[in-house]
């Protein structure tokens, strides 16, 4: 079964283009400097429309997660993580932690992570893996 994939909108296209180019792109406000996610054409802190796209470092830490023991059909059959990571720039995003055992022992809160990308045809998804891996 094909993986469930996002359908970009004009407001989010830069993010998905970035993933395809191997770059995690965030936005920040030109006026108040707030970095934010998910993408939108206005600053969620001050409402300014003066916002810019910038490449994030790709560094993050594990903020919280579950290990789904009843995976969706497109996710395979093995239990897998559904995680939220805290990006170095501040915003948090949902992702899967990959390249590591999907166990509570291997997935320690606050462990350092780095972004990695996987292509699924029209879309490239950002995942995170242990920083030392």
């Amino acid at each position: 079964m094909d993986r469930t994939l996002p359908q970009p909108t004009p407001e989010t296209q830069h993010f998905w283009d970035g993933c395809a180019a191997g770059e995690l792109r965030l936005q920040r406000c030109v006026d108040c400097r707030e970095a934010y996610f998910p993408p939108r054409p206005l600053c969620p802190k001050c409402g300014s429309r003066a916002v810019e796209v910038f490449p994030a470092s790709g560094k993050a830490s594990l903020y919280s997660y579950v290990i789904n023991h009843r995976p969706r059909p497109d996710m395979g059959t093995a239990p897998h993580s559904i995680a939220v990571v805290a990006l170095e720039e501040g915003p948090r995003m949902m992702t899967n932690i990959v390249d590591c055992p999907q166990t509570p022992e291997a997935l320690q809160l606050d462990m350092p992570l780095k972004v990695t990308f996987q292509n699924f045809g029209a879309i490239t998804l950002p995942f995170f893996k242990p920083a030392e891996a």
């Binding site: 994939l5 996610f37 919280s64 997660y65 579950v66 789904n68 969706r72 939220v84 949902m94 809160l109």
Partner: protein, 379 residues
């Protein structure tokens, strides 16, 4: 709202609860509505305001033969009915209508005439959460919890204890789906759904419905049942994506909604005799006790473990057995309100003796929305 200006004069659930394969969603709305009208001694032509979630108020009004002068289709998840009560109070006080019917019906288990659960792949949730394998509430509502447990020093046993004590309440309720006693070990040994959540930490999936009828204080005295007055209301929303909660250890929507309701009623948690906190999962009562001010952050686990919310405790909580053991159709907020009304009428199966003030606190989506209603039986 003006505290005490509005009263509940009719309240009922569907005739059956649990597994109802012979009724569709709209049929469940109607069954609950007719039961509530019978409770209030009213017929559809007496109703001039309709609010509902899930179904459209157009569907409900037309199905029941009601010609409303006010409708509310606010649909923000399971707490929508708390918001309907709040909006109805404002509408009645403004003179937009006199007698409001709020209905809920959901074929959660049997899926007769029910819609699907899903988001457009172009929505923010569709783009930034769905690709990672979230399925439904058990893999979304649960995502903040490991962070919460770590920040508060709570354990899996603290989560399990919530389920254990609510089962004690359910044992007293003949209409509860699950009544057999369970232990912390039973909960921790039940099938893993999404670490750290086991099956017995997750709500039921059942069929059912409920309805409320509200009117002004002045008119309420002419109804067959003793009025239950509404003295405080609150509502708020935070985010459609659980991953974007500002803080995984506290719900902003809970705090804003709760504070608004308590301020309006002019009461503090110490004044509350009976409490309902929407428990789609075992962590919700812990967040609710903290965010409503019943416990300091980090103290809710011990508060429950020390049996303060259990039968015989000082703060009876989720006395119908809750979404974990009583029933959960999908939008459980209506059943929390129904239990608060039963407690204020003095007719609950597990009645809190002498209770004068009851709080019903709901959640919508995965910490997306919240609504809080405070009731009293005192004139």
């Amino acid at each position: 709202m003006k505290p005490g200006s509005i009263a509940v004069v009719g309240a009922a659930e569907t005739t059956k609860l649990g597994k109802i394969p012979d009724m569709s969603v709209i049929g469940l709305h109607a069954d609950a509505a007719l039961n509530a009208m019978a409770d209030a001694g009213l017929k559809p032509s007496d109703i001039d305001g309709v609010a509902t979630a899930g179904a459209s108020p157009v569907e409900t009004a037309h199905y029941l033969g009601i010609t409303p002068t006010w409708v509310d289709g606010t649909s923000v998840g399971g707490c929508s009915f708390m918001l309907h009560v709040r909006h109805a109070a404002a509408a009645i006080n403004e003179g937009l209508c006199k007698t409001v019917l709020i209905t809920h019906g959901e074929s959660g288990r049997s899926r007769v005439g029910a819609g699907g659960f899903g988001r457009s792949p172009s929505s923010l949730m569709g783009q930034f959460e769905m690709p990672y394998g979230v399925t439904s509430p058990p893999t979304m509502f649960t995502v903040p919890v490991l962070r919460y447990l770590k920040a508060r020093g709570y354990t899996e046993e603290d989560l399990a204890m919530v389920s254990v004590i609510q089962r004690e309440w359910a044992a007293k309720n003949p209409r509860a789906s699950f009544k057999d006693p369970i232990t912390v070990d039973d909960v921790l040994n039940s099938p893993m759904i999404a670490w750290p959540f086991r099956m017995l930490m997750c709500c039921l999936v059942t069929d059912g419905g409920g309805a409320l009828i509200l009117t002004s204080r002045e008119r309420a005295k002419d109804f067959p049942k003793k009025p239950v007055y509404i003295i405080g209301t609150g509502e708020s929303v935070e985010t459609p994506m659980v991953s974007q909660m500002v803080d995984f250890t506290t719900s902003k929507a809970f705090r804003v909604s709760g504070k608004k309701a308590f301020d309006e009623a002019g009461i503090t948690p110490k004044d509350v005799d009976h409490l309902m906190i929407y428990d789609a999962f075992a962590h919700l009562p812990l967040y609710g006790l903290e965010d409503l001010g019943f416990c300091a952050p980090g103290e809710a686990g011990a508060f429950i473990r020390e049996r303060n919310t259990a039968p015989g405790g000082k703060l009876p909580l989720n006395t119908n057995g809750g979404g974990l053991s009583y029933m959960h159709s999908g939008m459980y907020g209506m059943y929390a309100l129904q239990e608060s009304v039963r407690q204020m009428r003095g007719i609950a199966p597990a009645q809190a003796q002498g209770a004068k003030i009851a709080v019903s606190h709901g959640v919508g989506g995965m910490f997306a929305a919240s609504g809080t209603i405070i009731f009293t039986n005192q004139d």
